[in-house]
Amino acid sequence: MIGSILGGFLSGAIHSGTPLLYATLGEVIGERAGIVNLGLEGVMLMGAVAGFTTTVLTGSATLGVLAGGLAGGLFNLLFGFFVITRRANQLASGLALMFCGVGLSAILGAPYIGSRMEGLKEVRIPFLSDLPVIGRVLFQHDLLVYLAVPAAIAIGWLLFNTRWGLGLRAVGENPTAAFAAGKNPYRIQYQAIFIAGVLGGIAGVHLSLSLAKTWAEWMTAGRGFVAVALVIFSKWHPVRAISGALLFGGAIALQLQMQALGVPVSPFLLDMLPYLLSLGVLVVWGGAGRRAAPGSLGRVFQGTE
């Protein structure tokens, strides 16, 4: 009994945390290059709708994931055009991008609402998936879940142990200095924005192809903004983003699980739990938040001419 409750809770936490993790990883890369993207919600929606419609049309969830990632990346390049090439305000452009994504994805997805598809298949790891509790929690998921934590570690390595990552972080700290050191801030920021978009798109795909297995307008329901907050929570570090996404996803799973269990607490109060928990952790753990932020975050690189 306890095992099944725990197993259900943990597997729910991992499942609802996965899209948050991908989205947070994308935002970390973008912000490390100095770009805040409040339009992440729109990027996720574009990924979700592209992944869903592609899967419905082709019958292949793999193509769906690729299409979703690509759609997210391309859509974010549009954002890049405004904030990098046109030097527009990042916050305003991000919000515009979000509304644009909400509307555009709704138009594109409207003919496919209610379409049925298999979605991402569960890949059971032989033997391990039969273990009690642990098997269910760790070894009965789809590929995107298995790849989420390795992706976070790989991005951490890319950012902190490679020349490319060094250049990217330099642009985020001080683009003028990076430029003087021979880096091309525009190119690096475009690269960062594209990868961020791909990850945001994959986050959306996981929502539409795995978690809900359906498409509905604005189905991200604020997860894009939660991811932006989780970046601060994880102090702009991809590996710390794992715990942030798990904590938030876990809090959602926990509050629903507690209701299903019949714990006598008001559903309104339980609905606040994820946010209260995050606030609590920020209060206890926060402190150094400001110092961890990239130096030129949110500022527009004015070029050197």
């Binding site: 046109r86 527009a88 909400v102 609402i113 209610g114 629903l256 559903p267």
Partner: protein, 367 residues
Amino acid sequence: MGKKNFKMGMGFLALLSALMFMLVTTTSARASSEPKLKVGILHIGSIADAGYNQAHAEGAQIMKKNLPGVEVIGVENVPEGADAERVMENMIKQGAKLIIPASFGYLDPALRVSKKYPDIKFVHPGGYKRAPNLGTYWASTPEAFYLMGIAAGKTTKTNKMGYVVALPISFFLANINAFQIGARSVNPSVETRVVFTGTFLDPGKEATAANALLDQGVDVLGVIVDSPITVVQTAEKRNAYSVGYHYLGVQKFAPKGWISGIAFTWGELYTRFAKQVMDGTWKSENLLGNLSSDYLTIAPFGPAVSADAAKLVNAKKQEFISGKSQVFQGPIKDNKGVERLKAGEVWPMENLGKMDFLIEGVIGQAR
């Protein structure tokens, strides 16, 4: 890089996003001859949600088919508030004489517009306020939920059933209570667990909620959110039974585990409204239908429902229609042990809005 360019860029972006966000899709066709009547209908979400919105949209389409010469102007995804008022005025400018603002939150915007245009008729689903040119309509659902409870209570193997519900508002609490009372009438050891998601549309959360209930051993899932697709599909995937709501066509999302569903079939009612407006006999009233109305329908039973259960459901349906049976008949205790109805007392249907508790046997928190 001039400031002008920047402004142009931002202006373009703002325009683009505004256009996208409005997302106004009209389904009116250009008729060569002047239509006999134009009907405007506003939807809060997508009309393909296999749920609340699709039920209204199909009602309008059936009306159009029943009455040649009637034209429908349908607009999806209209936010409640000032946007709804603008859309209604726009429809009136296009010549609409009957407006169906098909969401609970359109009531106040519709009342404001109805004052401005006394010649235009409005019918609002579920409204609690009326005007000389604004009538309301809805169907009382607890009896139908009671019937679903009978079918589900006879079908469950674990004696645990679950409901994924948007919010703990009184009408939804009444539906859950009715479901449990119906189930208990045929299966005394059955229980219903409720999870509230806090929103009418978040498929991700609905899936997580459904899974949480299934993890507790629940083998029947019902749903009260705008689109039942996610919950019903999740139940089907994990070999549980499901009960639909809102729309008649939910069964295709869970063919194996389908029990039955409650559906609003507005077509004939909308046809009557349109006819009344055309011949001038329409008057503002508060229509509250029940199981005998043609706009509240019990969906066909699925393969899991036994003939015995189907017979019980049909017999009880007749008792409700004839008035022989009541859903909320005392004694009724809430799930905190407090007696809410004494033996012999009946909770009147017009007081459903005051039901603020979940009954014994329902596991969940009403507040």
